[in-house]
């Protein structure tokens, strides 16, 4: 079973991701903030990490940098409500593979996640 980690302080979005991927045989771990995320990555070694830009203890770009420092090959994509090219550039520079905005159509969102899990 593949495992992904969602780093986002919103339980609503966690439930949304669970619903979207429930038939896909994917285990979804949830971390509410950056510190919890770093701990869970160490413990659970997820195949894919989904990071929001606004977290309660650091920003998503900072978290990506920290993850990259310890897990060079981690696959990280940003899923956020901040639809700004400036922030996307910062995220790519820090090492994100993709930058998805939360209002993406459901089907497209699912397709992207599955694509990154396969590759």
């Amino acid at each position: 079973m593949k495992r992904i980690l969602l780093v986002d302080d919103s339980p609503l979005f966690y439930n949304f991701v669970r619903n979207v991927l429930k038939k896909e045989n994917i285990e979804i771990e949830w971390a509410k903030n950056g510190r919890e995320a770093l701990r869970k990555i160490k413990e659970k070694k997820p195949e894919l990490i989904l990071v929001d830009i606004i977290l309660s203890d650091m920003n998503g770009v900072e978290l990506i940098r920290k993850i990259r420092r310890d897990w060079e090959k981690a696959k990280i994509i940003v899923i956020t409500g901040v639809d700004k090219d400036y922030v996307a550039e910062d995220a790519f520079e820090a090492g994100a593979l993709d930058y998805l905005v939360k209002n993406l159509p459901l089907g497209e969102f699912k397709k992207k996640i599955l694509k990154y899990l396969e590759n």
């Binding site: 302080d9 919103s10 609503l12 979005f13 606004i54 920003n59 409500g81 901040v82």
Partner: protein, 456 residues
């Protein structure tokens, strides 16, 4: 920057005539002195009276520059010239001396300040010195200057008045300095009328004569900072006033104050948001409850970007954001803004137990949901709630009905107007009265910051 870059580029050419014109008091002398200081290879020719005035009133003109100031009919040494030959003798001594310096490569620009006073002196001399009347004949002098520019010397002429005449037709470049006084505040501008062979990027600049020096005030466009840095906290302490983190050099908020930011609709969004976010960031970093019902140009996405820009992630527990839109994120409170009473209930609930809270009300957002009367009632309610808790209420927004603006202007303790003047953001305080300031937005320090420059 003292003078616009287009003018500097223009003066890099050879043999051009630049006319600087303007009514009295518009800053022609300061502008041309600033040009002389910047160019380093310009000589300044003027009358004895103006030279004394420079000595007395412009201490920033350094010794090196003072050596390049010459009095028109002063006694100066000169020697015969190869480049200018007998043409040299058609000018007064001061210019002969300067032409020697041109020949030596020390000078390539002659500044004449001012055209009228120089011509006046020449007329006297024309009568007094009969044997040298050709030198002092104003018409000949004008024609000789034209020839001088044909020979590769740059000529800058300062002239009183703004009417079109022979000088403005003949000059390769014309800039007009102007000022207007509005409600006791001075607004200065430079218009670039023509600069042959130079692309004019901007035809109008805001201009200041602060400390007796010329400053051309440039508009900076927002740049996303490459490396975000923590917004510096200013302590909020009882009895010390409340910092706005924007206008602290000119005014302070007091606890319980209602602040009205009257933004003209064309002021750029980045400037508007930085003004309000700076105060918000400081309240949050002081661990004080803050509520924002954002103005129209701050949608949820923009607000989240501002949180990222000001590094406020760790402070979100103290922030409440009120929107009517559907949002996934929990931290955005969804409020039915159509119901004024419900809105009041939400505010009361959020303010419960809060000490010294900040409330930022984007009153233009409420226009979609409430009538003018209801908006005014809500503002009045808010003001009382915030005052009870010794907090700060900031009312901001761009488009609104005149009636509401007047209402806010009347009830506010601090009333600041921010206008767009040819693309620049200019602010001035009405309550309390302040001078006009040019606003600049910089992110060089890793966070957005407004820099104020007084226009005087």
């Amino acid at each position: 920057m003292s003078v616009p870059s287009e003018v500097k580029d223009f003066l890099q050419k050879e043999g051009v005539i630049l006319l600087i014109r303007g009514l009295p008091g518009t800053g022609k002398t300061i502008f041309s002195l600033s040009l002389m200081m910047d160019l380093r290879n310009a000589a300044y020719i003027t009358t004895e009276k103006v030279a004394k005035d420079i000595e007395r009133n412009y201490p920033w003109v350094d010794e090196d520059a003072k050596k390049r100031i010459f009095i028109l009919d002063g006694k100066y040494d000169f020697s015969p010239s190869t480049r200018f030959e007998n043409f040299l003798y058609l000018f007064p001594n001061s210019i002969r001396h300067v032409l020697n310096l041109v020949e030596n490569g020390e000078i390539n620009t002659i500044i004449l300040d001012s055209w009228h006073t120089i011509l006046q002196e020449m007329r006297f001399k024309e009568i007094e010195e009969r044997e040298r009347r050709e030198v002092y004949n104003p018409d000949r002098f004008f024609l000789n200057l034209l020839k001088l520019s044909d020979m590769g010397v740059n000529i800058i002429i300062c002239k009183e008045g703004i009417e079109e005449d022979d000088l403005s037709y003949v000059a390769d470049g014309v800039v007009t300095l102007h000022k207007k006084v509005e409600n006791g505040r001075i607004f200065r501008g430079i218009t670039i009328d023509k600069l042959r062979g130079i692309e004019i990027k901007r035809a109008e600049y805001v201009f200041s004569l602060k400390d007796g020096k010329a400053h051309t005030l440039l508009l900076q466009h927002f740049k996303h900072p490459r490396n975000l840095r923590e917004f510096p906290v200013k302590e909020i302490k009882i009895g010390r006033g409340v910092p706005s983190c924007v206008f602290d050099s000119i005014l302070r908020f007091k606890r319980g104050d209602t602040i009205f930011y009257d933004f003209e609709e064309y002021v750029s969004k980045e400037y508007h948001l930085t003004v309000i976010m700076s105060t918000l960031a400081n309240f949050l970093k002081n661990n004080l409850k803050s509520i924002i019902l954002p103005p129209n140009d701050m949608d949820a996405n923009e607000l989240k970007y501002q949180i990222y820009l000001f590094s406020l992630e760790k402070e979100l527990k103290n922030l409440r954001m009120l929107y009517n839109e559907e949002e996934m994120e929990e931290y955005i409170e969804q409020v039915n803004m159509k119901d004024e009473k419900l809105l009041e209930e939400v505010v009361k609930r959020e303010l419960e137990g809060a000490s010294m809270p900040l409330f930022i009300l984007g009153y233009d957002r409420l226009h979609s949901y409430l009538s003018s009367h209801e908006i005014m009632q809500f503002i009045d309610f808010l003001r009382n709630e915030i005052r009870k808790r010794s907090g700060i209420l900031i009312i901001t927004g761009k488009i609104s009905e005149r009636e509401i603006k007047r209402f806010c202007a009347g009830l506010s303790d601090v009333y600041i107007k921010i206008n767009n003047v040819n693309g620049d953001s200019i602010m001035y305080g009405i309550k309390p009265w302040t001078h006009a300031y040019h606003l600049n937005l910089t992110t060089d320090e890793g966070y957005p910051k407004i820099v104020l420059e007084e226009i005087t």
